[in-house]
C-alpha cells in the first residue's frame, strides 16, 4: 500500500477514535440533580438508604415485580420495618406515588445515563391519567 494511503487511514482512525474529546470540546456536562417533589419532599427516607437506592433501585424493582407477579405478595417490609405496597406507579407507597414527578426525578438521571426503561410501554405515570 502506498505511504499516502497508510497515512490517510492512520489520520482518519486517530480522528475517529478521539471523537469523545472533540465532540465535547469546550462543553461542560453538569450532573443533573434529581428533584424530590410531592410526597418525597416530606418523606425522610426512600425504601432503602439513599446510596443503596441510587445504585440498586432497578434490582429492587425487579424484586418487587417478581414478588407481585409471581408470588402474589404485594407487601414489602424494609429494614426499618416500614411497609410498602409494592408498585411502580399505583398507590401512595409506590415509586411514583411518592416521587410524584417522573420527568423531574427518574428521567433526569436516566437521560444522563442513557437508560430508557421499557416499563412505560405498559405502566403509566399517574399524572398522565389525570
Amino acid at each position: 500500500m502506498s505511504k499516502s494511503a497508510i497515512f490517510t487511514g492512520l489520520v482518519i482512525f486517530i480522528i475517529i477514535a478521539l471523537f469523545p474529546f472533540w465532540i465535547n470540546f469546550g462543553k461542560t456536562a453538569p450532573v443533573p440533580e434529581p428533584e424530590l417533589v410531592g410526597k418525597a419532599k416530606t418523606a425522610k427516607k426512600c425504601v432503602l438508604d439513599k446510596m443503596d437506592m441510587r445504585a440498586n433501585h432497578m434490582s429492587l424493582l425487579d424484586e418487587w415485580r417478581d414478588s407481585v407477579v409471581r408470588d402474589a405478595n404485594r407487601i414489602y417490609t424494609n429494614t426499618d420495618g416500614k411497609e410498602f405496597a409494592m408498585s411502580l406507579s399505583t398507590g401512595e407507597n409506590s415509586c411514583l406515588g411518592c416521587h410524584e414527578d417522573k420527568s423531574k426525578f427518574c428521567d433526569k438521571c436516566h437521560n444522563y445515563a442513557s437508560v430508557d426503561p421499557y416499563c412505560w410501554e405498559c405502566h403509566t405515570e399517574p399524572k398522565e391519567i389525570k
Binding site: M1, L18, T28, R54, A55, M58, A113, S114, V115
Partner: protein, 335 residues
C-alpha cells in the same frame, strides 16, 4: 501447570488489586481515575502512530500475494476475481471480506492422523476459531461503542439504538446486554483453545495469554459492576465526562471495583501498541492480501534499485575502434 499462563494470570490479578487497594486503602482516586487514564490515552495514540509510521516506511519491493484461486490467465480460463484479484476493486473486496468477516480464519483446517487402521494423515475443516473470533470481535466492538454513553452528553440516538438492540432480550433489571455475555463466553473459549489444544498451547507465549486474561478481567469486573455489586453510575459518568472535557473531577463514593476496571482498561490501551493486538492496524497492511496479483501483467520496479553505471558495447567500440579495425576485428560502425 504452565508458567506461560500462570504468570500473566497472576499479573492481571495483581494489577487489579493494586488499583483496588490503592483506592480503597490509600485513597489514590486521583492517580487511578485521572492520571492513569490520560497517560494510557497518550501511550495508545503515540504508540499506535509510531508503529504504523514505522511500518509505512518499510519498502514493498514487489507483490507477494498468497492466492487461493485461479489467477487471471487466458480468456477461457475462469479467474477467481476476489481470491486472486488483478484489479484494485478485487483487492478492495478481498480486504473488506478479510477485515469484516475474517475469511482467512474461515479457511482454517486441522491436520490429524486418522483413527482408522491405515492411520493416514487427514485434513478437516476447523470452523470454531472463526466462529469464536467473530463473536469475540463483534461483541467487543459493541461493548466499546456502548461505553460511549459515558463519554458523550447528550447521548446520541444511534448509541441508544444500539443499547436497545443489545438489551432486546429484556432479561432482568438492569436489563441484560447480550454483547457482554457473548464477549465473556468467546474470550473464555479462545483461552480454552490456547490451553487445551496441544498444538496451539505449544506455540503460545505469555504475550498471548496476557491480553486474554486482561480482557477477561475487564469483562468480569464490568459485568459484576452492572449486575451484581452495583456502582454509582451517575458519579461514574461525572468522572468520565470530566476526563473528556478536560475538567477532571473525582466524585465521592465510587467503589474501588470501578477503579480496578478502569486500571485494567488503561493497561490494555497502553500495552496495545507494543503487543500483538496491533493486528488491528496490521491487517490493513497485510502484504499478502492488499496487493493485486498482477506480477505477470505489470512490470514492478524495485524501488531501491540504484543507477548502475554501465559501459555499453557502443561505448566500448568508440574507445577501441581504430585498434579493432587495425587488428581486423569486425566493427558495427566503420567511422
Amino acid at each position: 501447570m504452565n508458567q506461560k499462563y500462570l504468570v500473566p494470570l497472576a499479573v492481571v490479578f495483581l494489577l487489579f488489586l493494586v488499583a483496588y487497594t490503592g483506592v480503597e486503602g490509600a485513597g489514590l482516586q486521583g492517580f487511578f481515575g485521572i492520571f492513569v487514564p490520560y497517560a494510557a490515552v497518550v501511550a495508545f495514540f503515540g504508540g499506535f502512530f509510531y508503529r504504523v509510521t514505522k511500518w509505512a516506511r518499510s519498502a514493498v519491493p514487489f507483490r507477494i500475494p498468497t492466492t487461493c484461486g485461479q489467477q487471471k490467465s487466458l480468456p477461457w480460463i475462469k479467474q477467481n476475481c476476489i481470491d486472486n484479484p488483478n484489479t484494485g476493486t478485487g483487492v478492495f473486496l478481498r480486504m473488506v471480506l478479510e477485515i469484516f468477516l475474517f475469511r482467512s480464519l474461515f479457511r482454517n483446517t486441522k491436520a490429524a492422523f486418522n483413527r482408522s487402521e491405515k492411520n493416514e494423515l487427514t485434513y478437516s475443516w476447523e470452523i470454531f476459531l472463526w466462529v469464536g473470533a467473530l463473536a469475540f470481535h463483534y461483541a467487543f466492538l459493541t461493548v466499546i461503542i456502548r461505553h460511549l454513553r459515558f463519554f458523550i452528553e447528550p447521548v446520541p440516538g444511534w448509541i441508544k439504538f444500539l443499547e436497545y438492540l443489545d438489551g432486546i432480550a429484556q432479561v432482568g433489571l438492569p436489563g441484560l446486554f447480550l454483547s457482554g455475555v457473548v464477549l465473556l463466553a468467546a474470550v473464555l473459549f479462545l483461552l480454552a483453545r490456547r490451553i487445551y489444544d496441544n498444538k496451539v498451547s505449544h506455540i503460545s507465549l505469555a504475550a498471548d495469554y496476557f491480553p486474554l486474561f486482561l480482557i477477561i478481567g475487564i469483562t468480569i469486573s464490568g459485568i459484576s459492576m452492572r449486575y451484581f455489586t452495583k456502582v454509582d453510575i451517575m458519579g461514574i459518568k461525572e468522572l468520565t465526562m470530566g476526563l473528556v472535557t478536560f475538567n477532571p473531577v473525582i466524585p465521592e463514593g465510587i467503589s474501588g471495583l470501578f477503579y480496578g476496571h478502569v486500571f485494567l482498561v488503561s493497561i490494555l490501551f497502553a500495552y496495545f501498541p507494543m503487543s500483538k493486538l496491533m493486528h488491528m492496524a496490521g491487517i490493513f497492511l497485510s502484504p499478502t492480501r492488499n496487493m493485486a496479483n498482477n506480477n505477470r501483467a505489470v512490470r514492478h520496479i524495485n524501488p531501491w534499485n540504484y543507477d548502475v553505471k554501465v559501459h555499453t558495447y557502443e561505448e566500448y567500440e568508440d574507445d577501441f575502434r581504430e585498434k579493432m579495425i587495425e587488428a581486423g576485428l569486425p566493427v558495427d560502425k566503420k567511422e
